[in-house]
C-alpha cells in the first residue's frame, strides 16, 4: 500500500512539473533574466549600435545631475499627488453610493464601469476631443456655469491636471468593484448598532465602515501608487510630454532614452531608480497600513 502511495506521489510530482513547465520557463526568461540584465545593463553604456563598455556607477551619477530627469520626477510626483487621492475617493464614494443589492444599483454599476473597458488610447482620443478648447464638451459644460475653461492640453499649467482628470474617469470603476466587494463584508449589526446609538452617517462610516474595509483600501492604494509612478500611455498619446515638458513622466523619459535615442544602458539605470522608488513607497504603504491595523 505504501509503495502504491509513493508511486502516486512520484507520478504527481512529475506531472506537476510538466504542467508548470511553460509558465516557469517564461518566468525565468522574461522576468528573472531581465531583472538581472537590467542591473548589469545599468552599469554599461550599451546603446544597441557599436561597442559598449563597463562604466560602473557613471549612469547613476549622470541621473543625479540630469535636469530633465528631475523635471520628470516633479511631473510624476505631481501626477501621483493628484491622482492617488482623487482615484481613491471617487472609487470609495461611488462604491458607497451603489452598495445596495437592487436591480437599479446593478445597472448603474455597469454604467460606472464602462470607461474601464475602453483602452487608454481610446480614452485619450475621446478626451482629446472632450478637451478641445473651442469645440470640446468640457469647456461647453463649464460655459453653462459662466466659467471660461482653459486651453487644457495646450497650457503647461493645465495639461497635467487634464491628464489626471482623464485617468480618474478611466480607472475608478475597477477600484469601485474592489470596494463594493469589501463593503459586503462590513458587519450590518455594527452599522445598525452605531446608528441606534445616534451616530451620524459620517461617524458610522469613520468608526465602523472604514476599519472593516482597510484591507481593500490598502490594496487599492498600492495599485494606484504603482500605476501612478508608471503613467505613460495618457501622456504619450495626448501631449507627447508637452507643452514645454510639463507632462513628461518618468516612464515616458525612460522610453524616450531607451527606444528613442537607444541609450539602453542609461535607460536601464533610470528604470532601476524608478523600481527602487516604487519599492520604497510600497513598503512604506504596507508599514503604515499594518500599523493602523495593529492599533
Amino acid at each position: 500500500m505504501s509503495a502504491a502511495v509513493s508511486a502516486t506521489r512520484r507520478q504527481q510530482t512529475i506531472s506537476a512539473w510538466i504542467f508548470l513547465a511553460v509558465p516557469v520557463v517564461l518566468f525565468v526568461i522574461f522576468l528573472l533574466l531581465p531583472v538581472v540584465m537590467a542591473i548589469g545593463l545599468s552599469l554599461t553604456d550599451y546603446a544597441v549600435i557599436g561597442d559598449f563598455e563597463w562604466v560602473g556607477l557613471d549612469n547613476y551619477a549622470r541621473i543625479a545631475g540630469d535636469p530633465i530627469f528631475w523635471v520628470a520626477v516633479r511631473n510624476t510626483a505631481l501626477y501621483t499627488v493628484l491622482y492617488v487621492p482623487a482615484g481613491l475617493l471617487v472609487a470609495l464614494g461611488t462604491a458607497l453610493l451603489l452598495n445596495r443589492s437592487t436591480r437599479t444599483a446593478r445597472v448603474f454599476r455597469t454604467l460606472f464601469y464602462i470607461p474601464v473597458v475602453s483602452s487608454t488610447v481610446a480614452t485619450a482620443a475621446i478626451w482629446f476631443w472632450l478637451l478641445n478648447p473651442q469645440y470640446g464638451l468640457l469647456n461647453a459644460a463649464l460655459g453653462w456655469f459662466g466659467i471660461d475653461g482653459p486651453a487644457w492640453l495646450y497650457e503647461s499649467r493645465w495639461a497635467m491636471i487634464a491628464i489626471v482628470l482623464m485617468s480618474v474617469w478611466a480607472g475608478f470603476g475597477a477600484n469601485m468593484i474592489i470596494y463594493l466587494g469589501a463593503l459586503q463584508g462590513v458587519p450590518g449589526e455594527l452599522v445598525d448598532a452605531a446608528r441606534v446609538d445616534g451616530a451620524g452617517a459620517f461617524r458610522v462610516f469613520w468608526h465602523v465602515t472604514r476599519p472593516s474595509i482597510a484591507r481593500a483600501t490598502f490594496l487599492i492604494l498600492t495599485l494606484l501608487l504603482i500605476a501612478a509612478f508608471q503613467v505613460f500611455d495618457q501622456a504619450y498619446v495626448l501631449t507627447k510630454g508637452g507643452p514645454g515638458n510639463s507632462t513628461l513622466t518618468l516612464v515616458y523619459y525612460i522610453y524616450d532614452r531607451g527606444f528613442g535615442r537607444l541609450e539602453m544602458g542609461y535607460a536601464s539605470a533610470l528604470s532601476f531608480v524608478l523600481f527602487l522608488v516604487i519599492l520604497v513607497f510600497s513598503v512604506a504603504n504596507a508599514r503604515a497600513t499594518g500599523r493602523e491595523n495593529d492599533r
Binding site: A16, F27, S119, W129, V208
Partner: protein, 312 residues
C-alpha cells in the same frame, strides 16, 4: 479596531427604536432616494456621455463635426469617416493584428494558466509553496524594470527572425506576433487566478479517477477543467481586454507599419489627424467596440453561471 470592539457593547435592542423612528424615516427616505437617483444619474452621464458623443461625432459628415458640435443626433448621419479610415490607411490590418494578439493570448493563458493553476492547487509535490510564492511575488514587479532587457531578449532570441543559434544576425522575434505573444503567454496572474479557482473544487473527484487509473492530464482535462468553466470565462475576458488594450509593449516591440496594433495605430492618428476628428473618433469606436461587446456578452454569461449554481 477599537471602534469595532466598543460599538456593540453599548448597543441597545434595536426593535423599540425602529417603531418610534419609522414615520420620519419615510419622508427622509424619499428625499434620500431622490438625491441618490440624481447622483447616480449624473455620474452615469459623465461616464457614458463621452462615448455617446464620440459615436455621434464619428457619424457626422466633415462639415457638421465642428459647426454643430453640441448636437447629439447628426443631421445627416454618414459612415464616410469609417470608410475613410479603411480607404486611407491599413486600419483593417491593425484590427487583424490586435485580434491575433488578443485571441492568441487568451488561448495560451487559459491553457497554460489552467494547467499550472491546477498543479499548484490539486497536485502534491515538493517545491509547490516556493513556485507559488515566486509567481505571486512576480506580480508585484513593475513592468518598467524588465522593459529594456525583454526587448533585448526578444531581439536575440536564438533561431528566430534570421538569428543564428547565438541570437545574432537578425531581428529575432521583434516585429513578429511572437514578440507580444511569447512573453505574456502564461502570465503569473493567469496561474494565480486559476489556482484559486481549482482550490475551491473537492479533491475527491481526482482521487476517485486516480484509483480507476486515469492519467493526471486526463483528470485535469476531463474532470476539473469542465468544472472551472466560469473561472475560465472570467479569465478569458480579462486576458482579452488586457491583450486588446495593451499599448506600451506593442509600441516598442512592433514598429513595422504592417505589424501595428489598433491601439498603436490609433495613437498615431491623434497627432496625425489633429483637425480631422471624424476618422480619429471612428477609429476610437472601432478600437473600443470588441472589448465593449465582450464585456456585455460576458456579463450575461457570468450572471447565468451564478444562476445555475444557485439552483443546484
Amino acid at each position: 479596531m477599537t471602534a469595532l470592539a466598543t460599538a456593540p457593547a453599548s448597543a441597545p435592542a434595536p426593535a423599540p427604536q425602529q417603531l418610534t423612528t419609522s414615520r420620519p424615516l419615510t419622508a427622509r427616505a424619499l428625499t434620500g432616494k431622490v438625491v441618490w437617483t440624481l447622483a447616480v444619474v449624473l455620474i452615469s452621464v459623465t461616464t457614458v456621455m463621452p462615448l455617446v458623443w464620440t459615436l455621434s461625432t464619428s457619424l457626422k459628415p466633415e462639415g457638421e463635426i465642428l459647426s454643430s458640435y453640441l448636437q447629439l443626433v447628426p443631421d445627416n448621419p454618414t459612415l464616410a469617416n469609417y470608410v475613410a479610415l479603411f480607404a486611407d490607411g491599413p486600419f483593417g490590418r491593425y484590427l487583424a493584428n490586435s485580434a491575433v494578439i488578443a485571441l492568441g493570448g487568451v488561448v495560451t493563458n487559459l491553457f497554460f494558466g489552467g494547467l499550472a493553476g491546477y498543479a499548484l492547487a490539486k497536485l502534491s509535490f515538493r517545491g509547490r509553496g516556493v513556485v507559488f510564492s515566486l509567481f505571486l511575488g512576480s506580480m508585484m514587479v513593475p513592468g518598467i524594470i524588465t522593459m529594456v532587457p525583454t526587448f533585448l531578449v526578444l531581439r536575440h532570441f536564438p533561431l528566430a527572425g534570421g538569428n543564428d543559434l547565438f541570437g545574432e544576425g537578425g531581428a529575432g522575434l521583434i516585429n513578429s506576433y511572437g514578440a507580444v505573444l511569447v512573453p505574456f503567454a502564461a502570465g503569473p496572474f493567469a496561474v494565480f487566478f486559476m489556482r484559486q479557482f481549482f482550490q475551491a473544487l473537492p479533491d475527491e473527484l481526482g482521487d476517485a479517477a486516480r484509483i480507476d487509473g486515469a492519467s493526471e492530464f486526463r483528470i485535469f482535462w476531463n474532470i476539473y477543467l469542465p468544472l472551472a468553466r466560469a473561472g475560465l470565462a472570467v479569465l478569458g475576458v480579462l486576458t482579452f481586454q488586457a491583450g486588446w488594450n495593451s499599448f506600451l509593449w506593442p509600441l516598442i516591440a512592433l514598429n513595422d507599419p504592417e505589424m501595428l496594433t489598433v491601439q498603436v495605430g490609433l495613437a498615431g492618428y491623434v497627432n496625425e489627424y489633429q483637425t480631422q476628428y471624424g476618422p480619429l473618433l471612428a477609429g476610437t469606436i472601432l478600437a473600443s467596440l470588441p472589448v465593449l461587446l465582450v464585456f456585455v456578452v460576458a456579463q450575461r454569461y457570468i450572471i447565468e453561471n451564478f444562476a445555475h449554481s444557485g439552483t443546484k
